[in-house]
Symmetry: C2
DNA sequence: TCCTCCTAGTTGACATGTCAATCATAAAGG
DNA sequence: CCTTTATGATTGACATGTCAACTAGGAGGA
């Protein structure tokens, strides 16, 4: 906001850092998804949903609570739940006191698959991510990521701080 | 590969780092895409393609060279080029010595849009990414990202080093 | 009651990605 | 030449995401 604000264009070093960063994240995400899919038949999206439901009270959540929990848009979740329901991983229970929606519940099959997928998830994260970095690097990545998230969230609300 | 190999499951600290990392990347990517789309009507995918073509000799590339350049699968690029062609951003020139494909060329409109989009791209990257980190953090992110990419690439080829 | 507004969630259209199959041309070998 | 095989690229089916529009039920007030 001060000295650097006079420069509109990132330096080539800064751009290179951006490019490394975003491509690394893409490649990692793709590799993790494909390994998880292959090892357990569960995508990262499926896994987020299953994890949130597993940790929820009674293995069930209202769809908007679930969306908040995993940080998804409602419509994205709605589409995804439809697909998971077709596969028998989740179901819906009518909710007495509010008929606008229902509880999203983990089915027996969903629980079973989640246990399998967790093991695969842990192996994959260890192999592709944790094993690549030492403790200091890992800590550096964690704090930088947290900083970036805070920054993006604050910039998004107050948008158009450009120029 | 040694001490840590006896542990199958990442520690909760390691998992937390993974989660911060991947969510930060997702949020950043989404924020950047949406800001670029809004400011210039060009998505990050479009931008990669336009950038590669702009830097190419004669503003043209064979489709597989372009795919290598930006690290995409062929079919992904093919679909994307189809959409960009419909919008008039790229075209195809028959290639004399090998009739299996064509040169992908930047149209005048494509060049024009690329210039606009570059300005937006720089502003957005600066605002959402570069401004969030100091020089040391940026350098840390760059090296950690490079390390991760190397690791993923080597693990992907030789896959299934699990257990 | 009934009108209005809010909230929960779904839907449809479309952009984007992946995978496997296919097509056309090139290159090699008889 | 004429098969066979390799290469460049597209296609179709389908998974996944986004956005805007819509449905339906709750809540408050005249």
């Amino acid at each position: 906001m001060t000295a650097s604000a006079t420069r509109k264009t990132p330096t080539s070093t800064e751009l290179a850092a951006w490019r490394e960063y975003i491509e690394a994240a893409d490649e990692l995400k793709r590799a993790v998804s494909s390994a998880m899919q292959e090892q357990s038949g569960v995508s990262s999206g499926d896994y987020s949903v299953l994890l949130a439901l597993s940790e929820a009270d009674g293995h069930r959540l209202r769809s908007s609570a679930l969306a908040d929990e995993i940080g998804w848009e409602r419509s994205r979740l709605s589409h995804h739940l439809g697909r998971m329901e077709k596969r028998g991983l989740v179901g819906r229970d009518r909710c007495g006191d509010d008929n606008r929606g229902a509880w999203i519940v983990l089915t027996t099959e969903g629980s079973r698959l989640f246990r399998t997928a967790s093991a695969a998830h842990f192996r994959v994260i260890r192999r592709l991510f944790v094993d690549a970095l030492d403790d200091d690097e890992l800590e550096g990545v964690r704090t930088a990521s947290a900083t970036l998230r805070r920054h993006v969230r604050s910039a998004d609300g107050g948008a158009s701080q450009d120029d």
